[in-house]
Symmetry: C2
Subunit: 116 residues, 2 copies
Amino acid sequence: MARGKALDDNQLTDSMYYILLSLIEPLHGYGIKQKISDLSNGEIEIGPASLYTILKKLATRDLIVLVVEDGERRKTYQISASGRVLLKRDIKRRIRMAEMGKNVLGELQGGSDDGE
Amino acid sequence: MARGKALDDNQLTDSMYYILLSLIEPLHGYGIKQKISDLSNGEIEIGPASLYTILKKLATRDLIVLVVEDGERRKTYQISASGRVLLKRDIKRRIRMAEMGKNVLGELQGGSDDGE
DNA sequence: ATAGTTGTATCATTTAATGATATATCATAT
DNA sequence: ATATGATATATCATTAAATGATACAACTAT
């Protein structure tokens, strides 16, 4: 996605989505990386560049807040109230998109091919 | 999304997803624009720059094929077999992502707040 | 004829994400 | 003690995706 669509349109990129989901509970950067890997069965691996870049961006937008439990070494974040609202909205958007896909495909194919 | 992740990882960006969905039936560029607006209840509007850029990219990747029914003025495309496979895979991916979101949120909230 | 819609196309720009790289701490085995 | 690997954060330059702006032509209805 480009051109600031992500937040201008109140949409989340996949990476932001995963990170916000991970921050439902307080967690620090490296923990997020691991949680995302967990949640996705190792399917998604987010590197440090993406992680800390996005973390900073989300904090600037007040979608997450710094909790700073561990003083120095770790920076613990958590999703904010507005972040939670945006996240829920995005889950619904994603459901709508997937349903749309199933409908369009379902309309002209009984089944089979790649398996439903 | 950046760094060629979209197709290297066999993932579709939102825009590519919408366009591929529209091309389940043969359609030309401008028709795609309208169909996407239709499918999304006017929620998504894709401009010419995005549309023709992505169309070209999808054709290069053989995810869509040029049908050229209308000789000159219109260029009619349709999704290819491999495009259909990729599309189905992506629908499943999107379902998984949304389910993941619902689960994470569901785990620690009875309901309410922004609605289910 | 002229205004609006249909239709395709490209260029420069903006944003997002990543690879590479750097640095420091902590735990554990040798 | 010290070397190795995991934990932890951070930035820079680069690559890729999407878009705004713009251009141009044909068709349609007034």
